[in-house]
Amino acid sequence: MQRRRHVLDLDDFSRDEITALLDSADAMRELLSRSIKKAPSLRGKVVLTLFLEPSTRTRVSFEQAGKMLSADVINISGSGSSAEKGESLLNTALTLQAMHADLIVIRSPHSGAPYFLARNLQRMGVVNAGDGRHAHPTQALLDLMTMRHHIGELEGKRVVIVGDVLHSRVARSDVFGLQALGASVVLCGPPTLIPLDLLHGSEGESLPDVNIEHDLDRAIEDADAVIALRIQQERQGAGMLPSMREYTRRWQVTEGRYRRAKPGALLMHPGPMNEGVEIASSLAHGPGSQIEEQVTNGVAVRMALLYQLLTGGQEEAAE
């Protein structure tokens, strides 16, 4: 297997590669639970995080993941950097590469920005931490890790993704990851917020295990896991939503609707939540909720990813 330098989306990950990463993330979780949360494996590596959009959990968890493995992590935000003086993204990245950083983690409001960097950076790896409405591969990996931990192998499992799928980079990456692991996906939400292109793979082939169901009562029937997405008020164009009240009435994950899913079904949300809009508050903090565990797993999965990108080759060493 060719050694991976960049992680841009999950559409080029095989089932084996995802499984190996999740196995490694399980081991990293053990390290997270220790009183001394530190191992020296990335000593001397420099990881940059360049966040051109607000973020708490993704930025902090990348930073924490890098530091726990002893990498030096340097955070750069849009404001206060040369980006504010009008420096282009490429020139900023080339400057950072010239400082011998090993990896850049980028969050950008523009879909495709990490791909552009990956094409133009010769020595520095690129990890996509969310680009516009396109992809968010590490969020998808932590979702997969959380699901696998609680409901076992995902082959044949039914996962409902409800809400603003159109603007959701999380949903897009989740669909690729769930497909790779053999789960079936139901996309649910107002017709204006469900993109039809998710029914097709990157080669235009149709994906038989991805379906659309606009009625949440029907979509949630027998679900093993429900992922509620944030209504992204900052990305709503006019006319996409009838009204918040109507959205809440028809697409909020409520106690009543949750009872239609399989007993013990997982409730997930990538955060930040609009409690009482896409998910009932009682559920968000109830027993089925994995929302805090998702955050913990986010650190573990990012540790596994940094370890994979910044150390050795790929095949397992013969002992």
Partner: protein, 183 residues
């Protein structure tokens, strides 16, 4: 049919581990605070064998843990990437007499990594080392407290300890390095 040159049969392995079990109990003057920690992968089944042997003659059980040292290796950038697996130390190591167990003592670098990993997990009262085979060529000032068999080797050889849990058979053999790559 054994691959390579057989140096310990399953029966000889069992006897060596039983002797190590007796030595561990004797030199620690009993089982008080004793814990066995196997280094993944093959150190773990060997640690269990030693614990089973101790249980058979002392009528008490010794806790067995598993230590993954891959995050502590000194060659992470120069060799194929090893898979990291969880470390499991059910009884902890704080204040304990820890016996590290590994299959082969070679350069000593794995043990160096294991000691660092262990120190990050707590402060044991004492750490000892048990290995099934000491093959020489140490590169660090590290030696074993308990040795199943000393085997002189050349650098072109690989000592393979095979255990049923991983390899389906129980034996120790020496294979040539070139041949080992193809298997």
């Amino acid at each position: 049919m054994t691959e390579g040159r057989l140096i310990l049969t399953g029966e000889e392995m069992r006897r060596a581990l039983t002797r190590i079990a007796h030595e561990v109990v004797e030199s620690n003057k009993g089982l008080d605070g004793l814990t066995l920690v196997g280094i993944r992968r093959r150190g773990v089944p060997l640690a269990r064998r030693i614990a089973d042997a101790i249980a058979s003659f002392e009528d008490a059980s010794v806790p067995v843990g598993a230590l993954d040292i891959n995050l502590y290796r000194d060659d992470l950038t120069s060799r194929p990437q090893p898979l990291v697996r969880p470390t499991e130390l059910p009884s902890g190591i704080e204040g304990k007499a820890v016996v590290l167990v590994d299959d082969v003592l070679f350069t000593g670098r794995t043990i160096r990594a294991a000691l660092n990993a262990l120190m990050d997990l707590g402060r044991p009262r004492i750490v000892q080392l048990a290995v099934l085979v000491d093959r020489g060529h140490h590169e660090l000032p590290i030696r074993a407290d308990y040795v199943g068999k000393n085997v002189p080797t050349s650098l072109d050889e690989i000592v393979e300890v095979r255990v049923p849990e991983v390899d389906g058979v129980e034996e120790v053999a020496i294979v040539e390095r070139v041949k080992a790559v193809s298997t």
